[in-house]
């Protein structure tokens, strides 16, 4: 771990990331010493920092610190956390404060290969996401909803939990974005009120544009998922998992999902 340029694992207990979750983060796949889609990840990080008024470190500083860790750990999941920095008591953010940066690399989680090929079982979480347009889309450190949702199931056969919002729209997985395929068209939930807009979501949308496939970003309900030809979840670490099974839903053929999966895994941006 490198914290503000120094090797170490400790942060100040008055850091606003700790006191208020006042920060953002990214998890990125690291393979053969390279971070997959690094420039795009940095752009997302910077975008999220700007949304919260947090000073984002330069790409040069972050890349140098990542490289320092990658030299010893060329495989795994790299994570960057940026917080607003150390604060005094009180919610009001102090604009001139130095942000805190925490860079780390963890071993990749090990998932069975059939998650990608044959698809996964998912669980419909009871917790409903609240609406907060001001935070929607941002990968921020206020993640209690995800924590509580992930606590709802322990069965290791369940790969992911599906999150709906308070109005019953399907929004995302606890750590992934969701797509539906219906009659050759793509559908993905509108994330303007809640949810995290992940990088792989952007890439699937890019695939669709490149291949002339119609995509709708819209309000979707559970019934839309149940009626879909295929459904899949994406994130930067798992890649793409087709959904094989969910309450009231069972599919065993994923031609479009595998086409997109192949593109995500093999096409260099």
């Amino acid at each position: 771990m490198i914290i503000n340029g120094q090797v170490g694992e400790l942060i100040h207990a008055k850091d606003r990331g700790f006191t208020y979750g006042d920060g953002v983060f990214r998890s990125m796949l690291l393979h053969e010493g390279k971070i997959n889609l690094w420039p795009q990840h940095f752009n997302k990080l910077k975008h999220d920092c700007i949304s919260l008024g947090i000073n984002c470190p330069s790409i040069k500083i972050l890349a140098a610190e990542l490289d320092q860790l990658i030299a010893d750990q060329p495989e795994g999941v790299a994570k960057i956390v940026i917080t607003r920095g150390i604060g005094t008591r009180g919610y009001s953010p102090i604009s001139e404060s130095n942000s805190t940066r925490v860079i780390s690399i963890s071993p990749s989680p090990q998932y069975p290969d059939f998650f990608s090929t044959n698809g996964v079982s998912i669980y419909i979480c009871h917790l409903r996401l609240g609406h907060q347009p001001r935070l929607a889309g941002i990968k921020h450190l206020n993640r209690l909803e995800n924590v509580l949702a992930a606590a709802e199931w322990q069965d290791p056969g369940i790969a992911e939990g599906l999150l709906l919002d308070e109005e019953g729209h399907i929004i995302e997985g606890t750590r992934s974005n969701l797509f539906l395929v219906k009659n050759g068209n793509l559908y993905t939930p509108d994330l303007s009120r809640c949810g995290v807009a992940g990088l792989q979501r952007d890439r699937v949308l890019e695939w669709a544009t490149q291949n002339g496939v119609s995509t709708k970003i819209t309000n979707l309900f559970l019934d839309d998922l149940l009626a879909a030809d295929e459904a899949f979840m994406v994130n930067s670490v798992i890649g793409l998992w087709p959904i094989r099974e969910m309450s009231g839903f069972k599919r065993d053929s994923f031609p479009i999902s595998h086409l997109i999966q192949n593109w995500l895994n093999n096409v260099l941006p």
Copy 2:
């Protein structure tokens, strides 16, 4: 500061309080070496920990660690943060993990005396609180809404910001609870969908019960505030501030507010 029993200021960057805001806290007024309403504060802390499935340290451990700091700093604001502890990657909470406890004392914020006597000017925040019944009432570490709301004004003449929810209900201040007085009755917002249920709010409700004053915990709108005879805000550090001025609202007489204020400040629970 005392962290897990050791004097120090640093926590692990993998602490779930830092990575996900996965924890709760309390701010408590400390005067002449005593924490005001300590048993009640501990009960709230424990209640909030239980709501999130976090192991709450015993009152004995926390009191001993507080006493250790109070010996050197008998005046100020004492703060306790409890997080779910150090975690591995991933949202899923590990139930057997040891929680982290951070105890600190800061100097009391200095507010002009007339805030309590003549009342304060408040600002109506643009940010609207999202609904999340699962987290409503809890003083948890996911406080980005409060941070963004507090960033909306810099004028030091504005003492507090009023927060409405997405449906236009008045809910609370950025760091306080709200009461209205109308025809001798008390009204305070329902906090079942958002907001933090502070200890002073409970005490005002207790005052009302003891004094046979009717209290309604209900949906309240800005128009209800504008039509109120008196309105005031409470928290454990500020005590009670009558609201003197807000857009469309001006009052200069606060008989009920001062009656309750006197009781809050002087009656031992």
